[in-house]
């Protein structure tokens, strides 16, 4: 491979990382909110959320991306490529995160809530100081899996014509009729997921109570 393909691959990596981090910071809190609403919200909200989660988990992310970018313009909603990608990813990942958080929340024994009540700790403060750390501890491994999946799923935005790292690699492979760009892209993914796994492990170690 000619090294002149490198800059475009690096630019692709930048886009991949930008998309990944933006989706992560938005979908994690949104997922938590959805989980709280599903557990504590009124019945009709709960039903709505069940439906939303079903739709997000029951259809391919690729379809959701196409729906947002190619479909919505037909009803007058046009988004640029990148915002469209972020929007679809956030909705999709928030649904997965919400299910994980919800599982963690219902797993906390009722006795913990009763102890909070008897000690006069209000719900909000109790959640922050007592319940949520326990939820995080039990959900970190599954959250970690989803986060790693997200790194790899970002490659799907090539369908919108966004120049993320895999697309840049493919273009380079075509141009130089070479296998090397694919290997190089693979190594880049491994480096990114390696760093993230390492960080996740460190965080998990902090939750060894």
């Amino acid at each position: 491979m000619s090294w002149s393909a490198l800059p475009s691959i690096i630019t692709g990596l930048e886009l991949t990382l930008k998309l990944f981090s933006l989706v992560l910071v938005l979908s994690l809190p949104l997922g938590l909110l959805v989980a709280v609403a599903k557990v504590y919200g009124p019945k009709f909200i709960q039903r709505l959320i069940t439906l939303y989660i079903y739709a997000m988990r029951g259809t391919p992310l690729l379809l959701q991306l196409m729906f947002v970018f190619f479909g919505l313009p037909y009803v007058g909603i046009t988004l640029d490529r990148f915002p469209a990608a972020v929007f679809a990813f956030v909705l999709n990942y928030a649904a997965y995160f919400a299910e994980i958080f919800r599982g963690g929340m219902v797993g906390v024994p009722t006795g913990q809530f009763e102890a909070m009540k008897v000690l006069g700790i209000n719900h909000f403060k109790g959640y922050r100081n007592v319940i949520f750390p326990q939820v995080l501890k039990t959900t970190l491994p599954s959250l970690g899996n989803e986060i790693l999946a997200l790194v790899k799923d970002t490659s799907l935005v090539y369908i919108l014509g966004l120049g993320e790292v895999l697309r840049a690699g493919q273009i380079a492979a075509n141009r130089y009729a070479s296998l090397i760009p694919f290997i190089f892209v693979g190594i880049l993914y491994l480096i990114v997921t390696g760093i993230i796994s390492y960080l996740l492990n460190k965080i998990e170690k902090q939750y060894q109570f």
């Binding site: 024994p109 006795g111 913990q112 009763e114 102890a115 009540k117 008897v118 000690l119 006069g120 700790i121 209000n122 403060k125 100081n129 007592v130 750390p133 326990q134 501890k137 939750y207 109570f209």
Partner: protein, 219 residues
């Protein structure tokens, strides 16, 4: 002084507690004994507002715990509870378990809260474990932390659900002595136990849970 009058509670359509009255004085230890399923735990849950009575009154000095002033929302910190399984917060150290509620509620200054926790943990002979997490403690140690945590709020009454069930004779006796020292600070204790020996040795009064269903003169 805790005054319970005409307390009633049905569970699954059956009377569990009916027209039951009881008074607990400061510095008094009252034990409740009786068959499994007779409503002992339910009774102290009613006192702590974890379950709602069907009928009756619960008063602590001049505070009405039930029916509440309006609705049933307010949490009364004058009455404390030690759960049978302690329910310590696993993500917090021993010391943090004790200080969390006072810190969040800003009842007194932070330094005072810390001092108070040290003093209580010292008294309960568990200060050396203050930085440990609950999972690193033995059953008896957890229990003492749970009591310290309840005492941090200066309750007038503490309810204990089968506090000696996990203890051997010797440890139970030490625990009994501990209760005796706890009540010196004008605290009353309502304790559920299966251990008659323990109840006879350490309580001022023993009440059978059969009385939950037999309206008698006020106890």
């Amino acid at each position: 002084m805790l005054v319970i009058e005409g307390l009633s509670k049905k569970m699954n359509g059956l009377d569990l507690i009916k027209d039951f009255s009881l008074t607990v004085q400061k510095k008094e230890i009252v034990s409740i004994v009786g068959e499994s399923g007779s409503g002992k735990t339910t009774f102290i849950r009613l006192l702590n507002q974890l379950d709602k009575p069907d009928k009756g009154q619960i008063k602590l000095d001049n505070d009405r715990l039930f029916p509440g002033q309006d609705g049933h929302k307010s949490v009364n910190k004058n009455i404390g509870m030690v759960f049978q399984d302690f329910q310590l917060f696993p993500n917090l150290t021993v010391k943090e378990n004790c200080t969390l509620s006072p810190l969040l509620n800003k009842s007194i200054r932070r330094e005072e809260i810390n001092l108070k926790a040290d003093e209580l943990l010292g008294k309960l002979d568990i200060l050396d474990k203050q930085h440990s997490y609950p999972k690193e403690l033995s059953g008896g140690q957890k229990q003492r932390v749970a009591i310290a945590r309840a005492l941090m709020l200066d309750p007038q009454i503490i309810c204990l659900d089968e506090p000696t069930s996990a203890l051997d004779y010797e440890t139970a006796d030490r625990f009994g002595e501990l209760l005796k020292s706890v009540i010196k600070n004008d605290v009353g204790i309502v304790m559920i136990t299966h251990d008659l020996r323990f109840a006879e040795k350490f309580s001022d009064r023993i009440i059978s849970s059969e009385l939950f269903l037999k309206p008698t003169s006020t106890l």
